[in-house]
């Protein structure tokens, strides 16, 4: 098992650091180019959602991204310390409804095998995203 952790401010100009991280790690895990792109956008969208919705655009908060490469899966945990999010309110939008916004959750769910919203930490939330390695499930 290998663990990589990135701690960064909730400032959109640092999102590229997360993208570079997930892109490189998914390549190491042996995912196809298409899967690497989908994983990159999923993790980027998840972090952007924290900035927009959990921290309401406050750029001085903290996001921790932890990548864990296990025998059969890549697990990505995004930890925030903002207001509690009710998982019931997080839904992908109907794609037939053409309008700006609301695509992030759909992109996250399309890329990942499992997505769990955990608001059990005393402060903040954590989003656990899992993608099984090629041939891992």
């Amino acid at each position: 098992m290998k663990e990589i952790e990135i701690k960064l401010p909730s400032d959109p100009r640092y999102l590229k650091i997360i993208r570079n991280g997930i892109s490189h790690i998914s390549e190491i895990c042996g995912f196809s180019d298409e899967e690497c792109n989908a994983l990159t956008i999923a993790v980027d969208e998840a972090a952007a959602n924290i900035i927009k919705h959990t921290y309401n655009g406050d750029e001085n908060q903290t996001i921790i991204v932890r990548f864990t490469i296990k025998d059969d899966r890549l697990e990505i945990i995004l930890r925030d310390f903002g207001k509690k999010i009710d998982p019931k309110n997080i839904k992908p939008r109907n794609l037939d409804d053409i309008r700006p916004g609301g695509l992030g959750v759909h992109l996250i769910k399309s890329a990942m095998d499992e997505v769990t919203y955990d608001n059990s930490p005393e402060v903040g939330n954590q989003l656990i995203m899992t993608k099984y390695l090629p041939g891992g499930k």
Partner: protein
């Protein structure tokens, strides 16, 4: 960093974007596109040849511009999508909503 340049080719306003369009940079693109739709530019072509990455805020910006253009019966087309950007449009099922072309020349001819 994102670079957004606009040039005219006959009646077509070509918006050339270079860089990565994400939550940080998409407002810059939005500003340029909304200026064009505000002046009711009849034909807008967004050239994505040099866009390596686009997130949902970038896609939302293009959807918003498309809707604005529709209000005055103008036209907005996209050209030169790289695979990573094409993937986002396909995953969002927006590849059927936008007119997408392989080249700027092909897209410019399609305005006529």
């Amino acid at each position: 960093m994102l670079e957004v340049k606009t040039r005219k080719q006959n009646t077509v306003a070509i918006v050339e974007i270079e860089g990565e369009v994400d939550l940080y940079s998409s407002p810059q693109l939005r500003k340029v596109l909304l200026e064009l739709t505000k002046e009711k530019s009849p034909a807008i072509l967004v050239d994505l040849a040099n866009v390596k990455y686009m997130d949902s805020s970038g896609v939302a910006t293009l959807v918003e511009a498309l809707q604005q253009v529709g209000k005055y019966s103008g036209n907005l087309k996209l050209a030169n999508l790289r695979d990573a950007v094409k993937d986002v449009f396909e995953l969002s099922r927006l590849d059927k909503v936008f007119d997408i072309y392989q080249s700027t020349n092909e897209a410019c001819s399609a305005f006529k």
